[in-house]
């Protein structure tokens, strides 16, 4: 029982972290119709910037400054890169963001090299907040949960209750009409892109000490983020939240329960073949749940696409 609780909490941290990435990505997608392939790269930039800042002035200023820098970089990319490519259509836009992802990875390696950075959580949060049956739960993760929930509430408030949120929501569905009403829609797009990438940067700052700050961190998370927003339904904020939590828990639970395929197969009445070492089906018998864990999100995505193409919460068909 206590293990379930630990996994629930760990999965919550992973899920909320995923959500901070997905929320920005899904906002950008539903607004501009462009899927930002480089979103996870901005996440990585956040971690690296915060590390660099933390070597001078410590963790806390980095937590504030790095997302702002990433957001400004994102806004500049939108203004001078994406807007230029936009006139050629969505596929060139996607190719552009893909190229950008490659480039950012190279730039990060150019400045910081290939090895992992010594980016650590602040001294003040380096203690166990509480422990469940001997498993200490770090205070830093509690902090992450609070920040992520706070971000979600703030986002929800801004989008549904404020004037800016109204304009954004209107620009989502009827950009021309909003433009005719005298609003600067390109500026709104640039702002949304900047805020979305800043959110990714903030997620990066917080994930850096936990997941490690290394040049591959964008690739590791990048495709999972895409899977998440497809599963949740493209353009749906609630869907993104649900899918992030689902995938976070799926991965955490799969990693910690050592269910083997052998037990499952014998329990349904099959007997292990005698020539297991040479049998073509040997992998089926030796698989364990932690091994399958990494592919579960992709399987989930294929299932969702096959049976519910609009995603869990999406309205339009993907």
């Amino acid at each position: 029982m206590s293990l379930v609780l630990v996994n629930l909490l760990d999965g919550l941290v992973t899920g909320l972290l995923l959500f901070m990435l997905c929320s920005g990505l899904t906002l950008i997608f539903s607004m501009m119709g462009v899927l930002n392939f480089a979103h996870a790269s901005f996440f990585m930039l956040g971690a690296y910037f915060a590390y660099q800042i933390s070597t001078y002035v410590g963790f806390w200023p980095g937590l504030l400054i790095a997302p702002v820098v990433v957001g400004v970089a994102g806004a500049l990319v939108e203004r001078y890169g994406l807007r230029r490519v936009h006139k050629h259509g969505h596929v060139p836009e996607l190719i552009f963001t893909f190229g950008l992802a490659l480039l950012i990875e190279e730039v990060v390696q150019f400045f910081w090299g290939k090895s992992q950075m010594a980016f650590e959580e602040p001294e003040i949060l380096k203690f166990a907040a509480f422990s469940i049956a001997g498993n200490a739960f770090p205070a830093y993760k509690v902090f992450m949960i609070f920040v992520a929930v706070g971000i979600f509430l703030a986002l929800l408030y801004i989008l549904t209750k404020t004037r800016v949120g109204m304009i954004i929501q209107a620009a989502l569905s009827y950009p021309e009409t909003v433009q005719n009403l005298g609003h600067n829609v390109p500026l709104v797009f640039m702002g949304v892109f900047g805020v979305g990438t800043a959110l990714a940067g903030l997620a990066g700052v917080m994930a850096g000490p936990v997941l490690g700050t290394f040049p591959g961190m964008a690739v590791v998370l990048g495709s999972i983020v895409f899977v998440t927003i497809v599963v949740g339904g493209l353009g749906s904020l609630w869907g993104a939240l649900a899918a992030s939590l689902l995938i976070g828990w799926l991965q955490t639970f799969a990693a910690s329960y050592n269910v083997t395929m052998k037990d499952v197969l014998t329990s349904v009445g099959l007997s292990e073949p005698a020539d297991l070492a040479t049998s073509a089906l040997r992998d089926l018998w030796t698989l364990t749940l932690p091994q399958i864990g990494p592919i579960l999100p992709y399987l989930l995505m294929v299932l969702v696409l096959a049976f519910r193409p609009q995603g869990l919460f999406g309205k339009r068909e993907t």
């Binding site: 490519v85 190719i95 552009f96 190229g99 190279e106 150019f110 399987l299």
Partner: protein, 430 residues
């Protein structure tokens, strides 16, 4: 009446000469492929040539999707990789179980396996084009790449699977133990595949792929199912990617997870786009340039991938038609007989452009060396000059060269643009 007859006759003559002209590049390609090993006969040369042939087939297959069908795939390495894995297993059957299968026929089976898998995936992924297709291709690609570590029996886990190509029945005394024999096999399959893909693009199916790419709604109103058209392009592309995979298996005799992952899928996108997606020869040029850049640049600099990334992003932003597009825009001045007038403007901006490229490359090299060289190693050599990478003087010099070049370029570009417009303009300017 006679006038109409004349036009008809001349049009026919034109068509005939065009036909001959159309065959000319293929003839040249045959000759070129035949003599290349005599020019670059060294082991390294042949390795690069083999790699080029494989990459060309793969990029051409990819362009059947991206250029001709308007489908952006982030997981096309899967079909090449699976075709390759299948062929490695076939080679092992030939070696250990005595299966009779001459090696030259192997790519056909690799292609069929790629086709089989493309049929399975394509049945649900080609429902929509654009972003949705791209995401499904990414998801499937990642799924297969992740599976490859788990399903050890087929993919061999992290060390991959390997085989020996020389164990098959020898035809005409050729057992493919030398690189040159493998090269000629690859070259033959390159010609066959390229010709088949070219002819495919001229068939009604190929034409409909273009129509669906440009406007799927109109194609539907003409009575074509956009989904079926995309599905057919997808399957054909999977088939040729499988052939490329088989040739990879024959050439390297080993396949690993690397052949399936996102990096490989991404590089074929990069190659195709750099070459130019709008032209049949685009991917060919892209593959040749990319392979050369990869082998030559990586000899000189550690950060060649950074240059490649910059080149790619610049291409997407400024020359969306790629290298072939850059060549093609000179066709109109050539037709107008004004290509000569561009020589001087080009010569004028060549200096500053080169200065800017070299200057900024030097800045990056110096910064990279200063940051990442071993402790105490402060001397570096650039363009034959050795200096201390930690002193500010060389860096400032490089920045100055790049800055001056930018200044000169800004001064010269308006005149160049005028000359360009004039060269594209029929008739005399005055």
């Amino acid at each position: 009446m006679s006038l109409a007859g004349e036009t008809n006759a001349s049009a026919q003559a034109g068509a005939n000469s065009v036909n001959w002209l159309r065959l000319l590049p293929w003839g040249l390609a045959v000759v070129l492929l035949a003599i290349l090993p005599f020019v670059f006969g060294s082991g390294a040369g042949l390795t690069v040539l083999n790699q080029m042939a494989i990459t060309i087939i793969f990029a051409l297959a990819y362009n059947m999707l991206l250029g001709q069908g308007g489908m952006l795939s982030f997981g096309h390495a899967v079909y090449m990789g699976l075709g390759g894995f299948f062929c490695v297993h076939l080679m092992n059957r030939v070696e250990f179980d005595g299966l009779w299968l001459p090696l030259p026929l192997l790519p056909l089976f690799g292609g069929l396996f790629g086709l089989l898998f493309a049929v399975i995936v394509g049945s649900f992924s080609t429902r929509r084009a654009g972003t949705v297709f791209a995401m499904i291709s990414l998801g499937v690609g990642e799924l297969i790449a992740a599976c490859s570590i788990i399903i050890v029996a087929f993919f061999g886990g992290e060390e991959g699977v390997s085989a020996d190509r020389t164990m098959g029945p020898a035809l005409l005394g050729i057992d493919f133990s030398s690189q040159k024999e493998v090269y000629y096999l690859s070259a033959c399959w390159l010609l066959i595949s390229a010709a088949a893909m070219y002819l495919y693009s001229r068939t009604p199916v190929g034409r409909m792929a273009n129509a669906v790419r440009d406007n799927e709604e109109r194609a539907e109103f003409l009575g074509y199912s956009q989904r079926k058209v995309r599905f057919m392009s997808f399957c054909a592309s999977g088939f040729f990617a499988g052939i490329a995979g088989a040739l990879f298996a024959i050439n390297f005799e080993i396949l690993t997870e690397e052949n399936l992952n996102l990096a490989t899928s991404g590089s074929v996108l990069l190659i195709t786009f750099l070459g130019g997606v709008g032209f049949f020869v685009g991917p060919i040029i892209g593959a040749i340039v990319f392979t050369l850049l990869q082998t030559v640049l990586s000899l000189f600099t550690e950060i060649w991938q950074l240059y490649l990334g910059i080149l790619f992003v610049m291409t997407v932003m400024f020359f969306p038609f790629g290298l072939t597009g850059l060549i093609a825009i000179h066709f109109r001045p050539y037709q107008l007989g004004k290509l000569g007038t561009l020589i001087i403007p080009y010569a004028l901006i060549a200096g500053p452009a080169l200065g800017f490229a070299l200057g900024s490359a030097c800045v990056m090299e110096i910064l990279f060396h200063a940051r990442h060289a071993a402790l105490g190693d402060e001397t570096m050599t650039l363009l034959g000059v050795s200096f201390n990478s930690h002193s500010p003087a060389p860096l400032l010099l490089a920045v100055a060269v790049a800055g001056l070049s930018v200044w000169a370029l800004r001064k010269l570009l308006p005149a160049f643009k005028d000359a360009w417009d004039e060269a594209n303009h029929a008739g005399d300017a005055s």
